[in-house]
């Protein structure tokens, strides 16, 4: 599905990724974890083509992503901060994204799901953070792409919406899709993900199931397992 080979990226003097090798097979939910500044977002953005790597190769569905934009038809991406053009109405934004990608009727179901109907005629600049995040989710899930990348999807969501999001992700998984998630909410990760990719200092420190991580770190629960990795490496 996604293959990353020897990925390097430096921002100024700051080496963010130093030789990441990662293979993500088709189907399942993968959580990309790591401390702040470990390169999670950079890794995701590299896959999306938003960050141009200094070195290394990335292929998505067997297609090299270098100088290519068409492969993104197969990716749904949820950006971390949902900040949209404030003069656009919600309806128009949805229409615009459909216009840029392809037509779909899926949006109506998602609008109903997140109860966005009353906001459709409102300008994006006047929405609360949570509502914006819901709009963000609609934009992401309305296309039926095989790869879904979610960067901090839970930000600003109320508990009900969070439940709906989890259901949504599970449904997509059931369809055989691949989902990449970054999140700081460990309970969310633990609940939803099949595999963990742990990045530390620009490299893959661990890849495998949560069970494997617990065994490796010799900790009873997931949160402690993560904490022990961090403390071990900073001690």
């Amino acid at each position: 599905m996604v293959t990353i080979e020897n990925l390097h990226k430096k921002f100024g003097k700051n080496q963010v990724l130093s030789g990441v090798d990662l293979h993500i097979h088709e189907g399942g939910i993968f959580a990309v974890l790591g401390p702040n500044g470990s390169g999670k977002t950079t890794l995701i953005k590299s896959v999306l083509g938003m960050v141009i790597p200094d070195k290394g190769n990335i292929t998505v569905h067997g297609e090299n992503i270098k100088k290519n934009s068409d492969y993104r038809h197969k990716i749904d991406y949820l950006p971390q901060i949902a900040n949209f053009p404030s003069n656009l109405k919600v309806k128009e934004l949805i229409k615009m994204i459909k216009d840029l990608r392809k037509q779909t009727d899926e949006d109506q179901r998602l609008i109903d799901l997140f109860k966005l109907e009353p906001f459709l005629e409102k300008k994006l600049g006047n929405l609360s953070g949570g509502t914006k995040q819901k709009v963000n989710l609609v934009l992401t899930f309305m296309f039926d792409s095989p790869l879904i990348i979610l960067d901090e999807p839970t930000t600003g969501l109320d508990p009900i919406s969070l439940i709906r999001l989890k259901d949504l992700i599970k449904v997509e998984k059931a369809k055989g899709k691949t989902v990449l998630i970054t999140s700081h909410i460990m309970s969310f990760v633990e609940e939803i993900s099949d595999e963990i990719v742990f990045i530390l200092e620009g490299k893959i420190y661990f890849k495998g199931s949560i069970q494997k991580l617990k065994t490796k770190t010799n900790q009873p629960d997931f949160e402690h397992a993560i904490a022990s990795i961090l403390s071990d490496n900073h001690a």
Binding site: V51, S69, P79, A82, N87, L88, L100
Partner: protein, 270 residues
């Protein structure tokens, strides 16, 4: 064939959305209202179309670049998140940035053309001999908008820091509108013992504001320009040669920074 068509179409779509977005923003109205007011006040004060056109020319060649740079930089920084949203879509980077650039440049040009055009048309522009001067004014204004918006995008693309970006934008404007001419004048006076006509023409070509000014001089001050002896000058100002060269140079001034936008945007991380 489908693939080839795809590129301009997505760019046009982005252009369309940027344009709509801007057309609804407060700033477009402010800009439009400013030109409307300027046109009305000038006509009201002067009672004379041709004099109003001359005053406008002086204002346009200084103000349009200023507004173009500031507005360009502002738009770029304000729409960064939107840009990121677009970047995750299956759209080429060059389409995104060219679309946004054209959206800004066109909405600014439209504010200029409508803002100035409306009062002048009401004042009887179409029956006046000033119509050619006025058209030239609008064409020059549009060129300057295209050039300085492109330069602004260049500055914004290379500077993550907003404050720095704005600073460079103001500096660029100040340099091209005032300082350049000061240096230019000093150079000419310093080397007055040498034949200078080529140098002075080249000096003019290298600054889009001076270039636009020359176009206006060709219209308004041809009598004075022909007082100078230099053969190159004479060929330049005495024939349509000057006009054609000036327009070619203005076009180059648009194309170069636009190409740099494409080039820079391909290499940039977001």
């Amino acid at each position: 064939m489908r693939l080839r068509l795809y590129y301009p179409i997505t760019m046009l779509k982005i252009l369309k959305y940027s344009f709509y977005d801007l057309m609804r923003s407060r700033w477009s109205y402010v800009y439009f209202a400013f030109y409307l007011l300027l046109g009305v006040v000038l006509l009201f004060l002067n009672n004379d179309l041709s004099k109003a056109v001359i005053t406008l020319m002086n204002v346009i060649i200084v103000l349009v670049p200023l507004i173009g740079t500031i507005f360009g930089v502002m738009y770029y920084y304000n729409s960064q998140e939107f840009t990121e949203l677009l970047l995750a879509q299956p759209v080429k980077r060059s389409s995104i940035f060219l679309g946004q650039y054209l959206g800004v440049a066109l909405s600014l040009s439209m504010s200029l053309i409508l803002g100035l055009g409306i009062p002048f048309v009401f004042y009887g522009l179409f029956e006046s001999s000033a119509i050619w001067d006025f058209s030239l004014l609008l064409v020059t204004g549009t060129f300057l908008t295209l050039i300085f918006t492109a330069l602004a995008f260049n500055i914004a693309l290379t500077n993550e820091n907003k404050i720095k970006g704005f600073g460079y934008a103001i500096l660029l404007w100040l340099f091209l509108a005032v300082i350049y001419d000061g240096l230019f004048l000093m150079t000419l006076i310093l080397f007055e013992d040498y034949p200078l006509d080529k140098l002075s023409l080249i000096g003019t070509m290298l600054n889009p504001i001076d270039l636009s000014r020359t176009l206006i001089l060709l219209k308004l001050d041809i009598s004075a320009l022909l007082g100078y002896t230099g053969a190159v000058f004479k060929q330049f100002f005495g024939t349509s040669f000057g006009f054609i060269i000036s327009f070619i140079m203005l076009t180059i001034w648009v194309v170069m920074p636009v190409l740099r936008i494409v080039f820079k945007s391909k290499k940039k991380d977001f």
